[in-house]
C-alpha cells in the first residue's frame, strides 16, 4: 500500500473518529467542568457553583428572595464518581454514580445546563437544575 493511500486512510479514520465523538481530547474539559461544579456544591460554595451553571439554569434557581447560590446548595445534589463522558458538538453528558450532568460549550467554556437528573426511559431526563 502506497504512503499516499495509507495517509488518506489514517486521515479518514481520524475524521470518522472525530465525527463520531472526537473522544478523549474533547472529553476532559467537560469532565473538569462537571467535577468543579460538584466540588463547589459539596463545599457549599453556592456562588462558585452558580458561576459554573449556564445562565438560564442559574436563572431558573432564583425564586422570590432566594438567590441561586442559596438554592443550589439547598438542592442536595447527589453527584458521585465519574463513570463516563460523551461530547457531541457543543453538548456533553457526564455520567456519575448518582447523577447525570448535561453541559453546553459556551465561549468561556463548558457550563452545566442540567444536574440532579433522573432518567425517564425514552423521555428527557427529569433534572432538578435545568435551562
Amino acid at each position: 500500500m502506497s504512503m499516499k493511500i495509507k495517509s488518506m486512510l489514517v486521515a479518514a479514520a481520524a475524521l470518522t473518529a472525530c465525527l463520531t465523538g472526537c473522544a478523549s481530547a474533547e472529553d476532559a474539559p467537560a469532565e473538569d467542568a462537571a467535577r468543579q461544579f460538584y466540588a463547589a456544591v459539596q463545599g457549599r460554595d453556592g456562588e462558585r457553583a452558580c458561576a459554573l451553571l449556564a445562565p438560564e439554569a442559574a436563572e431558573s434557581l432564583r425564586t422570590g428572595s432566594e438567590t441561586c447560590a442559596a438554592a443550589v446548595v439547598g438542592l442536595d445534589l447527589p453527584g458521585g464518581d465519574i463513570l463516563g463522558v460523551q461530547v457531541w458538538g457543543d453538548e456533553a453528558q457526564v455520567r456519575m454514580t448518582r447523577d447525570t450532568v448535561f453541559l453546553h460549550r459556551f465561549p468561556k467554556g463548558w457550563l452545566v445546563r442540567g444536574a440532579g437528573c433522573e432518567p425517564r426511559g425514552d423521555l428527557p431526563y427529569d433534572c432538578e437544575v435545568k435551562t
Binding site: T16, L19, T20, E91, Q93, F102, H104, R113, P124, C127
Partner: protein, 224 residues
C-alpha cells in the same frame, strides 16, 4: 481557453451551479443553526465551525447519497428494463449486457477505443462496469458519511434535549436515519419516473434528453 470553455460548457455550468449552491447552503444553514442555538439558550457559532460541524455535513451527505443512488439505479435498471417510447430507454428486445459487437469490445474494438475495452478478462469487465461502480462507490461512501455525521448531529440534539446519545449501530436503525434517507430517495425516484414517462409524450427542442420534436410517441431510444 475559449475553446476549452465551449467544449466543456455543460460540466462547467453544473460545477459552478454546484459550488454556488453549496456555498449558499452553508450561509443559509449557518444563519438557521444560529437562530436555533440562540432560541435554545446556546451561543452562536462561526461559519467555519458550522461548515465543519456534523449538522452541516449530514445535510450535505444525505442529499449526495440519494443523487448517486438515483444515477446508479438509472444506469443499472436501463440495462435490463425498457420503457417503450422513452428516449431514456433502449429499444425493446435489447435488454441485457448486449453483444461484444454492439459494445465494441475485444476484437470488435475500434482503433480509438479505450485500451481496457480492447483487453479481455477482468480489465474489460471492470471497465465495462466502471460507471456503475463509480456511482455505486460514491453512493455507499456518501451514505456511510451520512450515517456517521448523522449520529453526531442526532446525539448533539439528544443531549440538548436532556436525552441519552445513541451508538452508530443504534442510529442506523433509527427513525431519524431512515426519515432522512427515504425522504431523499422518494424524490429522486419520482424525478426519474417523471423523466422516463413524460419524455414519451413531451419534447424539449434541441435537448439530447428529449426525442426530436417530430419523433412519434412510440419511438424508443431516439435522442434529439
Amino acid at each position: 481557453m475559449r475553446r476549452f470553455v465551449k467544449d466543456n460548457a455543460l460540466s462547467l455550468f453544473f460545477l459552478t451551479a454546484f459550488v454556488l449552491s453549496l456555498v449558499g447552503q452553508s450561509f443559509a444553514g449557518h444563519a438557521a443553526a444560529n437562530e436555533r442555538q440562540i432560541a435554545e439558550g446556546g451561543t452562536a457559532v462561526s461559519w467555519v465551525e458550522y461548515v465543519t460541524s456534523a449538522e452541516f455535513t449530514v445535510d450535505v451527505a444525505e442529499n449526495w447519497q440519494s443523487e448517486y443512488l438515483q444515477f446508479l439505479l438509472f444506469i443499472l435498471a436501463t440495462v435490463y428494463l425498457v420503457q417503450r417510447g422513452s428516449p431514456e430507454s433502449k429499444e425493446p428486445g435489447k435488454e441485457g449486457g448486449e453483444s461484444d459487437a454492439d459494445q465494441q469490445v475485444g476484437r470488435h474494438a475500434e482503433p480509438d477505443s479505450p485500451p481496457w475495452a480492447r483487453n479481455g478478462g477482468l480489465r474489460q469487465g471492470l471497465y465495462g462496469n466502471s460507471l456503475g461502480l463509480a456511482m455505486g462507490g460514491i453512493f455507499l461512501l456518501s451514505w456511510l458519511a451520512q450515517s456517521v455525521t448523522g449520529t453526531a448531529s442526532y446525539n448533539a440534539d439528544q443531549l440538548a434535549q436532556l436525552q441519552d446519545p445513541v451508538s452508530w449501530g443504534e442510529y442506523v436503525v433509527s427513525a431519524d436515519f431512515w426519515n432522512r434517507t427515504l425522504q431523499n430517495w422518494q424524490s429522486e425516484f419520482l424525478a426519474v419516473l417523471s423523466m422516463v414517462a413524460l419524455s414519451i409524450y413531451l419534447r424539449q427542442r434541441g435537448s439530447p434528453e428529449s426525442k426530436p420534436v417530430g419523433a412519434p410517441h412510440h419511438a424508443t431510444g431516439v435522442e434529439g
